[in-house]
Amino acid sequence: MLTVSNISCVRGHKPLFAPVSFSLQPGQVLHLEGDNGIGKTSLLRIICGLSHADGGEVLWNGSSLSKQHPEVVEAFRAALCYMGHHQSLKDELTAIENLLFDAQIAGRILSYDKAMDALQKMGLKNRAHLPLRVLSQGQKRRTALARLSLTDAKLWVLDEPFVALDTHSLNSLQVILANHVQQGGMLLYTSHQAVKLLKTNGHLVDIRSVQMVAA
Amino acid sequence: MMWESWSQFWDMGGYGLYVWGSMGVTAACMAIEVWQARSAHHQHLAQLREEHEGHL
């Protein structure tokens, strides 16, 4: 379980947003909303541990994520999948190489067949062995989605995942996210557009939203 | 007093250029540093005051 308690962030003397608190249980989805420039990306980076908070704390399964608890941080990182503005894909590597290397760097074991399978689901089977450089922008995005579908991380933190996706990719991403939540995963994301997630039984996934306001 | 005249003092037994070159540059560096620190401080205070008056 992820608990965010009174996180605040100061940039150039001024607090960026009013302190934010929420908690996220397995199987829950949380949509982080707020005006442009309110600091949604900053908050996500703080939660992941890339930036420091100027107040408050982030807890993972009830324990504080701080330097004093390296074992908690390690457990948190093993359970975390963060997708920021950058895709962290290498143009010189093929789609399949990108997936395999990324999994290894993240400390996961991924078989060639599984990776191929994921690419196939994204309609990239014939593109799997081409360097990403020659793929279209949309195909690159789908490679990133294939990678997301392969992660077994419990907590997904996604920064604007729906931006600039074509209809086909958007549908695929919705399925991937719904599956993740249905399997007891946690999802935290920022988005400018409202997106519905459909479970396999046809019910809508309940999406809570947290509104960030200026301090 | 060990120096008999000012000219002897400035001459430093023939080493005047070296000795006073060292002392002079040292004094100049310190003076510049102090002046810089002071002007930075005052400039900053003035700026803060301006901002303050802007708020009123």
Binding site: H86, S88, K90, F101, I105, G107 | -
Partner: protein
């Protein structure tokens, strides 16, 4: 698991360098050109060349690895891979160490292998060439390890390239002294044992602290 990730990073970076050949080659080519320019500037007197060879080749290696250093983290910083490394459950110094090893394999090792050939241009004796190669073999990894800290600190900073040289070159002095010193000692008939041992003694702590400090610097840069 840990070492699997380590070797994955090494293989990935070597593969990337292989596919971006021109980048890696330019630093090596720089080394060759610099070494060739010195005799042209100084004159073809063989005794003079023999005397300056250790220094020239070492300074050339230093500058060329400086050039390569700028690219050590740049691409990964730009495309978000560094963030993923920082968030990986694998200890970041390990991954950074892997990047450094890969960097050395593609930018340091070619210098080591080329040095004897360039040494021939300076009329170095066979023994001196062997010593030069050994000294570079021990010394160039230190350059990558220490320089990595500077490369990490100057990531995304304006004027990064020049700044990196200013930060890192003074720190390279000991490596230069003992690296070039080893070859000179060989040429003048003194033992090279001491020089090489000291290079070794510098390499070992650098192997440990270099990745640690660089990982720390990278976290600062990512904030």
């Amino acid at each position: 698991m840990m070492w699997q990730a380590y070797w994955a990073v090494v293989r990935r970076d070597v593969l990337l360098a292989w596919r971006r050949k021109s980048e890696g080659l330019s630093a090596v080519f720089f080394f060759v050109v610099v070494a060739a320019l010195f005799p042209l500037g100084i004159g073809p007197e063989l005794t003079v060349l023999r005397n300056i060879a250790p220094g020239v080749l070492w300074v050339g290696a230093l500058l060329s690895s400086m050039l390569a250093l700028q690219r050590l983290f740049e691409a990964d910083f730009g495309d978000g891979t560094l963030e993923q490394m920082a968030l990986s459950p694998i200890a970041m110094p390990l991954l950074v160490g892997a990047k450094m090893l890969a960097h050395w394999l593609v930018s340091g090792l070619p210098l080591v292998l080329l040095a004897p050939v360039l040494g021939l241009q300076f009329d170095l004796s066979g023994d001196a060439l062997v010593t030069l190669t050994f000294a570079l073999l021990l010394g160039t990894p230190i350059l990558s390890l220490v320089g990595g800290v500077g490369a990490a600190l100057t990531l995304g900073v304006r004027g990064g390239g020049v700044l990196l040289s200013l930060l890192v070159l003074p720190l390279f002095v000991p490596v230069l002294v003992f690296g070039a010193g080893a070859v000179e000692a060989q040429v003048s008939g003194l033992g090279v044992q001491a020089h090489l041992s000291i290079l070794m003694a510098m390499l070992l702590p650098a192997l440990f602290f270099g990745p640690l400090a660089s990982a720390f610097a990278l976290r600062i840069a990512l904030e």
